[in-house]
Symmetry: C2
Subunit: 333 residues, 2 copies
C-alpha cells in the first residue's frame, strides 16, 4: 500500500512549479497567492460508475479525472490553476498504480492546457478503502477579465453552438462494452471515452473574447445540458438536429446496429464538448476563431422565448416528441 507521503512526493515531482500557491503540499492547508484564483470546481470519479479498471489503464483514469475538472473551468470561460487530489484506494493497489494515475494527470495537464496557464498540484490526500477507487479532484481556476461565463446568460435570439464532437464518448463506451465490435475499428470513439479532450484552450479563449452569453460542458448530453442553460437563463430553445454533422464512426456504428447516431449525439454523456449560446453579432468572431484553429463548431439552433420550451427538430425537419422519441433519460450521477 502506498502512503500519503509517496502520493504527495509523486505529485510534487510531476507538477514542479506550484504557481499561484505560496505554500503547497505538506502543511495542514495550502496557502494561495491572494487574489489569484476565483473559480472552484470539484469532480469525483467512482470505479464501476465512471470508469472500469479493466477498460482503462491507470494513466487513462488519471487523465480522465483531471480532464473532467479542466472541462468545468473551461465551461466558465476561464483557465485552470492549482488542483487538489483526494484518493480512496483499495488494498491491492500499490505505489506503481498510483504513480501511473498521477502520470496520466500530468499528461492531461501537458497536452490539454495551453501555455498561458499552468496546472499545479496544491495538495494530495490518500485514504485506504475497503471499496472501489474513488478519485476526487478540486481544481482552482481564474476567470477571464471579461468575467466568468455562467449558465444564466442566454437570451432569445442567441445561437446555440456546440464545440467539439458530440456523441463519440458514449459510442466509445458502446464499443468497449461490446463483444462483437472491435476497438480498432472505432479509434476516435474509443479515444473519446478513454482520453477525452475537453476544450480547455477554446473555453479560455471564447471566455477571454466574451463570445458566449452562456456556456456549459456536456457531461450528460446536449439535450440535458442545454436544459440546464434554459432553466438557469429562463428561456426556451429550438434545436435543429438536421444541422448536425454525423461523424463517420457514428454512422458506421448505426449501420452495424449498435445504436442510433442522433441518439448518441443528443444524449450521449461524458463528451466534454462545450455547449454555448452566442449572440448573433458575435458569431462571425467565433467562426473566425474556429477557422484559425482545430475546432469543430456546429450551429445547432436558437434560443427562444421561455414559453416555447425546448423543441428538437429531427433529421427530417419535423419536431421530435422528446418523451416518445426513444431518447434515454439519464439519472444525474
Amino acid at each position: 500500500m502506498t502512503s500519503e507521503f509517496e502520493l504527495v512526493d509523486r505529485l510534487a515531482s510531476l507538477f514542479s512549479a506550484p504557481e499561484g500557491v505560496t505554500v503547497g503540499i505538506g502543511d495542514d492547508a495550502a496557502v494561495l497567492d491572494p487574489g489569484r484564483f476565483d473559480l472552484v470546481t470539484m469532480d469525483t470519479l467512482v470505479e464501476g460508475v465512471h470508469f472500469r479498471r479493466d477498460w482503462s489503464e491507470p494513466e487513462d483514469i488519471g487523465w480522465r479525472a483531471l480532464a473532467a475538472n479542466l472541462s468545468d473551468v473551461a465551461a466558465m470561460g476561464g483557465g485552470p490553476g492549482a488542483f487538489f487530489l483526494s484518493l480512496a484506494l483499495p488494498e491491492p493497489l500499490d505505489d506503481q498504480w498510483v504513480g501511473r494515475l498521477c502520470e496520466g494527470m500530468k499528461e492531461a495537464a501537458s497536452e490539454l492546457v495551453p501555455d498561458s496557464f499552468e496546472v499545479s498540484a496544491g495538495g494530495g490526500d490518500l485514504s485506504s478503502s475497503p471499496g472501489p477507487v474513488v478519485i476526487s479532484i478540486t481544481l482552482l481556476g481564474e476567470a477571464s477579465p471579461a468575467g466568468p461565463v455562467l449558465r444564466s446568460g442566454a437570451v432569445p435570439g442567441d445561437r446555440i453552438v456546440v464545440l467539439g464532437m458530440p456523441g463519440l464518448a458514449e459510442a466509445g463506451m458502446t464499443v468497449l462494452s461490446s463483444d462483437i465490435l472491435k476497438n480498432e475499428d472505432f479509434p476516435l470513439s474509443v479515444q473519446a471515452y478513454q482520453r477525452p479532450r475537453p476544450q480547455v484552450h477554446a473555453g479560455g479563449l471564447v471566455g477571454l473574447y466574451g463570445v458566449p452569453s452562456a456556456m456549459i460542458d456536456t457531461s450528460d448530453g446536449i439535450i440535458q445540458d442545454l436544459g440546464h442553460i434554459l432553466e438557469a437563463s429562463g428561456v426556451g430553445a429550438q434545436i435543429e438536429a438536421f444541422q448536425l454533422t454525423i461523424h463517420p464512426e457514428l454512422a458506421a456504428l448505426e449501420e452495424a446496429g449498435a445504436g442510433r447516431a442522433l441518439d448518441w449525439m443528443l444524449t450521449g454523456g461524458e463528451d466534454f464538448c462545450l455547449l454555448m449560446t452566442v449572440p448573433p453579432a458575435r458569431m462571425p468572431k467565433l467562426w473566425d476563431m474556429a477557422r484559425h484553429r482545430d475546432w469543430t463548431v456546429q450551429d445547432l439552433g436558437e434560443i427562444r422565448a421561455p414559453k416555447e420550451g425546448l423543441q428538437v427538430m429531427g433529421l427530417d425537419g419535423q419536431p421530435l416528441d422528446l418523451d416518445k422519441s426513444g431518447f434515454r433519460h439519464f439519472e444525474d450521477s
Copy 2:
C-alpha cells in the same frame, strides 16, 4: 436514490448565505470574491476506515467530515469560509440519509465556528457508488493578517503546547468497539470520537495574535504530528509526558484494563487538538487568552536543537525508548 439536485438544494437551504462566493451552487464552477480566500484544505472520510454507520448517526458523520476540514484551517491559524462537498453513495442510502448528513454539517458549522467567520456551501457533487460511503470536502479559508501559521516555524527554545484534550477520541473508539465497556460510562470519550470539537475559535485567535511559531492539528497523535513539525522546521524536541494531566475517563479506562492512558494521549488519533510551538516570550499571552476562555492548554515540552532528535520523558521522568515502549505506529491514512 437521492439526486445531485436534491443534495445541492439541501445544502443551499441549510447554508443560506454564500459569503465570499459570488456564484455558488449550480454552475460548472463556483465563482469566488476575488482575494477573499487564501487557504485550501481537502479531507476525505471513507466508511469502514474513518467511520462506521453502525457506530455513528448520519448527523455525526456529517459533523465529523466538516470538523476535520475546519480543524485543518484552524491549524493554519486562519478562519473557515466556503466548502465544497463530494459524496459517493451506495444504493440503499436515500434522500433522508443525505439530508441528515447535511444537517450534521450545519450543526458543526453552527456550533464550532465563531461568529467572526461564516461557513457556506459553495457546491455539491453526488455520485452513486457500488462501495462504501466516501465523503470528500474541500474547504476554503482566510489566513490571519499576521500570515498563515506553518509547520516550519519552530525554533529551539520554543515551548510545545497542546490545546484540547488529547487521547479522548481514541479512547472513545476503544469504548465503542468493546462489548464490555458501556458508552454511558465514558461520555466525553465517546463524544470526542462521535462529535469531535476542533479548536476552530482558538486556532483563529492564536493565529490572529501571532502566538504560535508553528502549528498542526493532531490527527495521528501528538508524537507523530509533532514529528511533522520537527521535520518541517528542522529541529528536535523533548516532550515531558509527566507534565500531562490525565483525564479521569482515561484513568478509569486504564484501570479497566482497556489500554494505557499515556499511550492514548501520545499516539491516539482523530483528536483534533492543536499542537503548537510558542516562543517563551509569547507564552504569557497564550495563558492569558486561555484563562478567559474554555481552553485546556498543556505545556508539554520544548523544541531543541536538531541533533537531539525527539526525546520523550515518561511518567517517571526517564526517557522512553520510542521503538520499544509499546507505542503503536500508525500508518498514514
